[in-house]
């Protein structure tokens, strides 16, 4: 059964990039455009991995992360934050909130796949 990934980003381009890259490698990708919609979907169905941007309207990535870690089914699920270089200071905040890791954008498709393979191992 294909691993299920929840890709959360307010940018349609980024969601498309994540979906294109991961679905070509056999992952099933579900999209959400902000943290609140992501939390709704994650509560209704199970995902093996969550990839989330940080800066989003309604609910940002750190808030989503904290909310997911409160759910029993997501206590140990890999949750990877997608950041830009200027947000490296957010790493500490993400770490404290329970992030498994992060990817810095822009990234090559191979880098994304390497991180995803590693956290799902």
């Amino acid at each position: 059964m294909a691993k299920r990934v929840l890709a959360v980003d307010d940018s349609a381009t980024m969601r498309q990039l994540l979906k294109l890259t991961l679905s070509r490698s056999g992952y099933e990708v579900v999209e959400a455009e902000d943290g609140a919609k992501a939390l709704q979907k994650a509560s209704a169905e199970i995902f093996d991995l969550v990839l989330s941007d940080i800066n989003m309207p309604v609910m940002n990535g750190i808030e989503l992360l904290r909310s997911l870690r409160k759910l029993a089914q997501y206590r140990f699920t890999p949750i990877v934050l997608v950041t830009t270089e200027s947000q490296l200071e957010k790493k500490q905040e993400g770490k404290a909130a329970g992030a498994t890791g992060w990817i810095v954008k822009p990234f090559e498709p191979e880098q994304l796949l390497a991180v995803v393979t590693k956290v799902l191992r």
């Binding site: 349609a12 381009t13 498309q16 294109l20 890259t21 800066n55 989003m56 890999p78 498994t100 956290v119």
Partner: protein
């Protein structure tokens, strides 16, 4: 990435960028009337942030590098390190026009700035003094060649590490990619744990 996928992604980004720039125009005019409106400042910052991140990811590096400076100015405004001024609003409106030009140029690697690009960067330079410092930074020195370095690493993860979805074994496995390694596990805390909890980590390396 396959060429077809890249073209699809770039078309998607052009469409998204057009919407963002339209929204930005409205937000900036509102900010001119309400310079301390935190919600509008955040809206401008997020739009610039998306133009930068998604633009870079879709291959519009020149656009991303340009927007980065404007994004940083608005990051400082939302952190209350700077205040919005009419001059800054004017420069940012010009930055939006410049973004449209850079979108037309596409994924070019040319370094020659457009006149409007140079004008905008000059206008925001007073708000980002490090732009001048970066222009004058020295070349990195070359380290003298030496033998392989050896490191002794002590790793004592937080007991609640599993709750972040992190597996210490994976981290140790990653180290093996960096070179020759010898790993020793200390089980001392485990042997002395009176209230053993299987969801907590008692090991160190």
């Amino acid at each position: 990435m396959e060429l077809g996928d890249l073209e699809q992604l770039q078309a998607s980004f052009r469409h998204e960028a057009a919407d963002l720039l339209t929204d930005l125009g409205g937000a900036l005019l509102l900010l001119e009337q309400e310079p301390r409106n935190a919600e509008v400042v955040n809206r401008v910052f997020r739009a610039m942030h998306t133009l930068k991140g998604s633009g870079a990811s879709a291959g519009f590096r020149r656009l991303a590098n340009f927007v980065h400076h404007v994004e940083e100015v608005f990051n400082r405004i939302r952190n209350q390190q700077l205040e919005s001024t009419p001059e800054l609003i004017d420069a940012t409106l010009k930055a939006c026009d410049c973004c449209e030009m850079l979108l037309e140029l596409g994924s070019t690697d040319s370094d020659t700035p457009l006149p409007l690009e140079a004008e905008v960067l000059l206008a925001i330079r007073p708000f980002l003094p490090e732009m001048d410092k970066a222009a004058g930074k020295t070349q990195p020195t070359t380290l003298a060649a030496s033998g392989p370095a050896r490191y002794r690493i002590g790793f004592r993860p937080n007991r609640e590490i599993f709750f972040s979805g992190t597996d210490p074994a994976s981290l140790l496995l990653e180290l093996t990619d960096l070179g020759e390694i010898e790993i020793r596990c200390d089980t001392g805390d485990l042997l002395h744990a009176d209230d053993f909890d299987p969801e907590k980590c008692y090991l160190r390396w």
